[in-house]
């Protein structure tokens, strides 16, 4: 993997949500996890658009579960972070850490 394979802000949040949810990561749980932790309402369309982009980049994989009655007979699409995705999270964290290092994030009033 190249060192410049960084994640965008929402991609970063989505991958972290997948890592937190482990084997239970699908549209509903990912959306709820992000909403409860970031306090911002996220649309299911935005979640899937980002997950599809991450899958195209090889950072996540997906598979379909069995159809369930509470979903009107539709199946869940589960997501997992790949090794490449995990490496991208780490390199994004390293980049952010290096940018933050030595900074005081409180603004002087003068």
């Amino acid at each position: 993997m190249r060192d410049r394979d960084y994640l965008g802000e929402f991609e970063h949040i989505i991958v972290l949500a997948l890592l937190r949810l482990n084997d239970l990561a699908y549209g509903v749980t990912v959306r709820q996890e992000i909403e409860s932790r970031t306090q911002r309402e996220v649309s299911i369309g935005a979640v899937y658009a980002t997950l599809d982009r991450l899958e195209t980049k090889g950072y996540v994989t997906s598979y379909h579960g069995d159809p369930t009655p509470e979903r009107g007979g539709r199946s869940k699409r589960f997501f997992r972070v790949t090794a490449k995705g995990l490496a991208a999270v780490n390199s994004t964290h390293r980049a952010l850490q290096s940018m933050i290092e030595g900074l005081s994030l409180t603004r002087n009033s003068s």
């Binding site: 549209g27 935005a46 899937y48 658009a49 009655p69 979903r71 009107g72 539709r74 869940k76």
Partner: protein
């Protein structure tokens, strides 16, 4: 309350909008997720709150799907739209001569003057509507899973072009009666999008049809 009962209480128009814009490969997951959360929310906060939430999710999701469609495959959307504009340029100016050729051929003005008046005024506008409906069908068929995005884009470009042209003509000639033509031009845009919706609904019906053994 079961999922079946909640399914009946979903806002039908919102479900229809999602059907129109969601690509087939994402439809099952997105609609299943929304139904699951709708059911949970309906039990927790009541049906009206769940319906409001469903509508918010639908509007945001549709906007997201439209923007993704442009970003991920711009040419799949742009090429049918350019084709539609060229078809409009090619066939649009043919409507009026074609109707007058029919009038001449059957000597309508001599035998049925009222029919002649109707054909020479409303007939031309209806001819344009049919032409743009057919162009909308052609664009929707060519744009595969992006029927709505392609036809809405074509309709918006067509609308912008006719508004600019109408305003230019009105300001240079001073004849503001021409602005009334905008209602017909708006109808042309509407039938382009209508054609996209018809093709989309037809494709969904074909996809959901059970396979014969």
């Amino acid at each position: 309350m079961t999922a079946q009962q909640h399914f009946r209480q979903l806002p039908r128009t919102a479900v229809w909008l999602l059907d129109l814009f969601t690509p087939a490969e994402q439809a099952e997951s997105i609609q299943g997720d929304l139904l699951e959360e709708f059911s949970l929310l309906a039990l927790k906060s009541g049906i009206s709150s769940a319906r409001r939430w469903y509508w918010r999710q639908t509007v945001k999701t549709v906007l997201q799907l439209v923007s993704v469609s442009f970003v991920t495959a711009p040419w799949l959307t742009a090429l049918p739209v350019i084709g539609g504009l060229l078809l409009g340029k090619l066939f649009g100016p043919m409507v009026e001569p074609a109707i007058f050729a029919v009038i001449e051929r059957y000597q309508v003005a001599e035998h049925h003057f009222s029919t002649y008046m109707l054909l020479a005024s409303t007939g031309i506008d209806v001819g344009h509507l049919i032409t743009f409906l057919l162009i909308g069908f052609a664009v929707a068929f060519a744009s595969k899973q992006r029927e709505m995005v392609a036809t809405i884009t074509l309709a918006l470009i067509h609308w912008a072009m006719v508004v600019v042209a109408s305003v230019y003509v009105v300001t240079t000639t001073g004849n503001d009666a021409l602005l009334w033509r905008l209602t017909w031009y708006f109808a042309d845009c509407f039938v382009i999008v209508l054609a996209g919706a018809i093709v989309r609904m037809h494709r969904l019906a074909v996809l959901s049809r059970p396979l014969k053994a």
